[in-house]
Symmetry: C2
Subunit: 191 residues, 2 copies
Amino acid sequence: MSDRLTRQITFLSEADKLKSVMRASRLHDASRFENSAEHSWHVMLYAFVLADQAGPEVQIDRVIKMLLLHDMVEIDAGDNPIHGQVDADAMAAEEQAAADRIFGLLPADQAQHFRALWDEFEAAETPDAIFAKSIDRVQTPIGNLANGGGSWTEYNVTFDQLEARVGTPVKRGAPGLWTWLLPQLRRFFTL
Amino acid sequence: MSDRLTRQITFLSEADKLKSVMRASRLHDASRFENSAEHSWHVMLYAFVLADQAGPEVQIDRVIKMLLLHDMVEIDAGDNPIHGQVDADAMAAEEQAAADRIFGLLPADQAQHFRALWDEFEAAETPDAIFAKSIDRVQTPIGNLANGGGSWTEYNVTFDQLEARVGTPVKRGAPGLWTWLLPQLRRFFTL
Ligand SMILES: [Ca+2]
């Protein structure tokens, strides 16, 4: 038991590093960039509040736990902004290695359980993962609208790029949210 | 529906401010103080990983949601360090007013649901809330051990104060965790 607890606390202490992984997005007041730990908290709150945007087959408690873990690989692999230039294969390999190492710190049963949840999120095929992905994608645009453009301005994002990179997953998992957001996005990108 | 969603997004945007509420505790690498949003993420991860420290009557999914909301009142009331000097009645009144305002941004059914979860956490009487409180209290000591003292040093905390303020709730909700932590705390405070 004591060895089990030692492994668990080792994992939890390693997790502290996610607070130092910086994202391309800023806080709503634009005062600084957001880190991946506080982003994870925020998207979990999004999932809980916006649960009625999910289909009846979605289990919100599982979605919340997926979002709790979804960015942990960034401790090793860093955040890859969706509007940045990325070698997708290299990034996927780096994230797989990160998942091996980080979830591997846990006792074997938990390592397997957590890894399976993360794999499910990444694959984006189950209803829970599809909804989790849509929630993960919708937080930044809402922040960018609040802070005057944020990562859109920094990455010279066009409306068409936004529709492809954000609209596609949001429409898939939470279509009502995209319908609500679209006129606001159009207004911003027309200005 | 659209008005409901507008209220929900207003609440979620207000929540962004929790990322700017600073705590007395530091990151494990001591590089800076921790904010209440990333702290909330971290304690949810603690609850998920350390679920086997809870009694069989504890529902971890409810604990995680309590911890997701537990510090939101700090947007108005600020963080009150447990080792600081506080007027407990004034603080409770301030936090009640904050809960009224912040949860009140939500649609009425959710405002009531979220407020009830937060009230349950605060009252610390149900098994879920007792476990959530113990998890909330145990994260900072583990960080302080990692960063060489942190808030203990800044507040001149003694071992007896720590045992009263942290040991009491941790023993109540997660006694195995306190048994594991105690020798490490004794070693630190003897040095
Ligand atoms: Ca607190």
